[in-house]
């Protein structure tokens, strides 16, 4: 029983870290730009496909692929922000959401055209297949690594935003755009940079997911973006701390649901979300509006 519970928690934590990587970029972009990006799940998917492509055609070294793939997706993120999103910041919410939704349609379809409608399997990544015995049952080392990456990204983001000059500027621009502009911050350039950085986080999650899931599909972005949305709502929109905790709770809860009540796994998520919202409508770490 103990063994089963510990393993379920570990599995949940590693699943939660992927949700966190997507939710972190989503939250950062929402917090600074005020735009909710439906296409963020597509960046996750594209990160995975690019990682697969590098592994397949450049070299079998996963770490090289993990370096190159997210950076290549950043170019797409740059195009999206610089030539499209920038022109809808002043528009009503439905236009912003539908613009990013249009990109979901476009990216999903392009991915189908380039990599085929079915799933693709990356070449042999057996070097990452090691396991370690925890309470007498084997657990993949790679999943432990993922459990380490999540907090590392969280700590890095926190240090960057709270302790560096650039972080201070980003926070300034997110709390008052006009004031930041008037003291000489180039807000449009800053927005582009934040969007591209958020894209990188999402694509990094996708790249990391390749050995974890073992196959890449066009649907993977849509699944995770919904989970990231739920996490962002539970944690309080715009709050990175909330997104991190929310992702962990959602990951673990889903793992327990799948393990012990397979018929109701999504229902647990729903009950969690409904419960949080009834008690704290603004989310765990959201500020009351």
């Amino acid at each position: 029983m103990m063994q089963s519970v510990v393993h379920t928690v570990l599995a949940g934590l590693s699943a939660g870290m992927f949700i966190w990587l997507v939710a972190s970029g989503l939250t950062l972009i929402f917090g600074v730009l005020g735009v909710l990006n439906f296409a963020h799940g597509s960046f996750y998917m594209l990160g995975a496909y690019m990682c697969y492509t590098v592994l397949r055609y450049v070299g079998p070294d996963f770490w090289v692929a993990l370096l190159i793939a997210p950076l290549s997706v950043c170019i797409i993120g740059y195009v999206v922000e610089r030539w499209f999103l920038r022109y809808v910041y002043h528009l009503a919410l439905p236009y912003q959401l539908l613009l990013t939704f249009a990109f979901v349609l476009i990216f999903d379809n392009l991915a189908k055209m380039v990599w085929g409608a079915g799933s693709v399997t990356p070449p042999d990544l057996s070097t990452l297949n090691g396991t370690v015995s925890i309470l007498g049952r084997n657990f993949p080392v790679y999943n432990l690594f993922i459990i380490g990456v999540g907090p590392l990204v969280a700590a890095g983001l926190w240090l960057f935003l709270e302790r560096t000059w650039y972080g201070r500027i980003i926070r300034a621009a997110s709390s008052d755009r006009e004031m930041a502009a008037s003291i000489g911050v180039s807000v449009p350039a800053l927005f582009t940079a934040v969007f591209v950085f958020g894209t990188w986080l999402g694509a990094l999650g996708g790249g990391l997911a390749v050995p974890y899931v073992g196959l890449v599909t066009t649907g993977m972005g849509e699944t995770i973006i919904i989970e990231a949305f739920i996490v962002a709502v539970i944690g309080g929109l715009g709050s990175l701390k909330g997104a991190f905790l929310g992702a962990l709770v959602l990951g673990v809860l889903t793992a327990f649901g799948t393990r012990f009540f397979p018929a109701f796994d999504m229902f647990l998520t729903f009950i969690l979300m409904a419960g949080v919202l009834l008690v704290r409508p603004q989310g765990l770490f959201g500020t009351a509006r």
């Binding site: 929402f30 022109y87 990109f103 379809n109 709502v233 929109l237 999504m266 009834l278």
Partner: protein, 322 residues
């Protein structure tokens, strides 16, 4: 002739044209017209929420699915009477909308959009997982079109598409008329007030949240009607109906057509379905084509089709005045 008379004449002509469709066109066009009317019912109800009240829901697919599965289950286990089935579908959608709405209406704007999205996806996953009730990913199949019994004795068969067409048309006209009545009612006026300034409306002593919840349930009921009719049309109900990409359809067609008018969403729906057919005729990649069209509309034609038409006429009449 006065302006209102012209309007009635145009409406009567449109209605006649719609009624004549099964007589003058092929099966496929009849089918497509029905799809346009279904999407029209869905979007007209949805626009009471978006255009009238200013609330953007991304979860209306859930109520559409509730209508479809409500009709399917009622037909399979109680009676296949289509009118009762549609009523049950609408009721099921309204109940689900009441539950979801109760959770969601305390928020507005983006929070509301995300909450409705999440709730809608919960319904999707429930439909997907509850195999024994809903048939899971196979969908709920074998929904029959039993004859309609009117006034105790009159039996009208709706088995053929050309017969079922009038069943859909009747509900379409009813739905548009009800939406029109709601828009011009005091209730509709309060909704516009909430859209323009929720705080002032609240200060005027109006319980804003109750009104939001009411219109949410009403628009959910419209979605349920559309879903129930689609279940009859396609003889099945599919989990995809509750998926968020389906929930995005009324948002799309409302924006395509124009938010501010009653008929905008219907025009948008017709445009959407016509475009999908045309794109699909030439390429499998209709999502790509549609995404690009959507980009163009958002970047360049924000008033939608009705807005563009009004602009055109507005400019003309302004030019004539000078």
């Amino acid at each position: 002739m006065t302006e209102s008379r012209i309007r009635y004449a145009v409406l009567a002509a449109l209605l006649l044209a719609l009624a004549a469709v099964p007589y003058v066109s092929g099966k496929f066009f009849v089918y497509l017209t029905m799809r346009v009317m279904l999407l029209g019912i869905f979007a007209v109800g949805f626009n009471l929420l978006l255009g009238q009240t200013g609330l953007l829901s991304f979860g209306h697919g859930a109520f559409y699915a509730a209508g479809a599965y409500g009709l399917g289950l009622f037909g399979a286990y109680v009676t296949p009477n289509p009118l009762l089935g549609v009523a049950v579908g609408i009721a099921a959608a309204a109940v689900v909308a009441l539950l979801v709405g109760y959770l969601c209406v305390r928020h507005t704007e983006i929070y509301f959009a995300m909450l409705t999205l999440a709730c809608g996806m919960m319904v999707f996953s429930f439909v997907w997982n509850a195999r024994s009730i809903t048939g899971g990913d196979d969908g709920f199949i074998g929904i029959m079109r039993a004859p309609v019994t009117l006034f105790g004795g009159l039996r009208l068969p709706i088995g053929k598409d050309s017969q079922f067409y009038y069943f859909v048309l009747a509900f379409f006209v009813l739905a548009v008329w009800v939406a029109h009545r709601i828009r011009i009612s005091p209730f509709g006026l309060v909704l516009s007030g909430i859209r323009e300034n929720a705080r002032r409306t609240e200060y005027a002593g109006i319980p804003v949240r109750k009104y939001r919840l009411s219109v949410f349930v009403v628009s959910g009921a419209f979605a349920g009607l559309a879903g129930a009719l689609e279940a009859l049309l396609e003889s099945n109900a599919r989990p995809f109906m509750a998926h968020w990409t389906h929930s995005a359809e009324p948002v799309l067609v409302s924006l395509l057509g124009g938010l501010s008018s009653l008929f905008g969403p219907i025009v948008g729906g017709a445009f959407f379905i016509a475009m999908r057919e045309i794109i699909q005729r030439y390429t499998e990649n209709w999502m790509l084509g549609f995404g690009v069209v959507l980009l163009v509309v958002i970047m360049a034609f924000r008033g939608g089709i009705m807005g563009a038409v009004e602009n055109l006429f507005g400019r003309r009449s302004a030019g004539a005045g000078r």
